[in-house]
Every structure is written in structure tokens, then in C-alpha cells.
């Protein structure tokens, strides 16, 4: 299954693109992938993100999501560093 992951700020700059199609592997057909699976898949797709991967936050459908959150192809998924607005 491929899931499109939107990237922002330093993650976007390091990857050099606004989104990445991440292949989620190592799961059975009955199990939906989790954000944890995507985190691993993202590093496989873009190894240069390894330097900041531990601080990257995830969001599914505009809500922060932890590693156990299930995702499907229809979800809007984003990955970004800690926020610094204001």
C-alpha cells in the first residue's frame, strides 16, 4: 500500500519535495498500517530524514496522531518537525 505523506518546514527542505508516496510494507492484508509503519517507510523512502526522524510529528486528517494510529489510503497524512509559529 502506498500512502502520500505531506511534508513541512525542515522535513520538506531535506526531502526536497512537498509530499512523498510511502510504501508501507511488512503487514498482512487484513491489518491496516499504523503511523509507526509509515515512520519506518518514510525513512526507507527518504533516508536523509534520519537526522530529524525522532523529533518528527505526525497528523492524520488534521489531528496529531501517535504511532499506534491506523491509517488508510483515503486519509490525509502529514509529517513535520515541532511547530514554531507565533
Amino acid at each position: 500500500m502506498k500512502i502520500s505523506v505531506l511534508l513541512f518546514a525542515a522535513a520538506r527542505e531535506i526531502a526536497g519535495c512537498e509530499s512523498l508516496a510511502v510504501e508501507v510494507s511488512g503487514i498482512t492484508t487484513n491489518d491496516a498500517p499504523t503511523i509507526g509503519d509509515l515512520r519506518a517507510g518514510l525513512l526507507h523512502a527518504e533516508p536523509r530524514l534520519a537526522g530529524i526522524s525522532r523529533s518528527l510529528l505526525w497528523a492524520v486528517n488534521n489531528e496529531y496522531a501517535n504511532d499506534s494510529r491506523l491509517v488508510s489510503e483515503s486519509d490525509s497524512v502529514a509529517c513535520f518537525p515541532p511547530v514554531s509559529g507565533g
Binding site: F8, A9, Y64, P81, G85, G86
Partner: protein
């Protein structure tokens, strides 16, 4: 009212928009672009947002604020794009029947916005360096630097 904008923030219009006969106090907070941070000179700042989530997140802040404080009107406006020294990056205006609630709500809104809303700033320093500001990464870097010393 929630706003994410590339245009300069009109804080007079925002302040007027929260005024109400039900309110006895109006508090306005403005975040502005600072020239020096820890002795390093900033040339300009770039703000980037995840627009859909930032707007949803600011709307949730407004609702949580109404559930927690006794307020009359709330406006949160955040600017994105290229900002120069002195420009307003964020404006928060709150009206309330009494001043304590207006101050407390305004303080809570800006503090929580900075923790939660997916917006990032990139420093463009006068010496030509550029750096995305990410609080946690900066702390990790500081710890690594301290360990190396």
C-alpha cells in the same frame, strides 16, 4: 474568528471587531519580528503553515478558550510568507466582561497556539545563514553540544 493570511495584519480592524457592549475589557496581543535573538541578527523571517490543519487547530483553540474562560469575542490571525523586521506575525484579540478573563484568555491562546498550531518560522540571518526554528531539535543540538564540550 480565525484567519491565516499572506497580507499584513490590520490590528486596528481586528481590535474593533471584538469590541462589544457585553464586554468591559479588550486585550490585544501582537507577535512581531525581532531583530536580535541571543545576539544573532535577523534579516527577515519566513513563515510556513500546513493551512488545512492550522486553520482547524486555531478553530479548536477558539472553542477550547470559550469553554474555559468567560469571553465575549475572539480573533486569531496568523500571517505566513516573508516578514520583515517589525512586521506583525500574529494577532490575538479577546474581549470579555472583565479584564482578568480577557488577559488570561489572551495569554492562554498565544501560549497554546505556539505549542500546537502547525506553523513554522525560518530565520534568515544577516550573515547569510538560514535556519528553520524547531524547539525540540534545538534542545537536542544544545545537549549534543554540551556533551561534546
Amino acid at each position: 474568528m480565525i484567519e491565516l493570511t499572506e497580507q499584513p495584519i490590520d490590528f486596528n480592524a481586528i481590535t474593533e471587531s471584538v469590541q462589544s457592549n457585553a464586554a468591559g475589557a479588550v486585550v490585544l496581543f501582537l507577535g512581531t519580528v525581532r531583530e536580535f535573538t541571543k545576539g544573532v541578527q535577523t534579516d527577515w523571517l519566513e513563515y510556513q503553515a500546513y493551512p488545512e490543519m492550522a486553520t482547524a487547530s486555531m478553530s479548536k483553540l477558539e472553542q477550547e478558550c470559550r469553554d474555559t474562560f468567560t469571553v465575549t469575542e475572539i480573533v486569531i490571525s496568523h500571517r505566513i510568507g516573508a516578514l520583515q523586521l517589525g512586521d506583525i506575525s500574529v494577532a490575538i484579540a479577546v474581549s470579555a466582561p472583565h479584564r482578568t478573563q480577557a488577559f488570561d484568555a489572551g495569554r492562554w491562546l498565544i501560549d497554546t497556539l505556539k505549542e500546537r498550531v502547525p506553523i513554522w518560522k525560518k530565520e534568515h540571518f544577516s550573515d547569510g545563514r538560514e535556519e528553520w526554528q524547531h524547539p525540540v531539535i534545538s534542545q537536542q543540538q544544545q545537549q549534543q553540544q554540551q556533551q561534546q564540550q
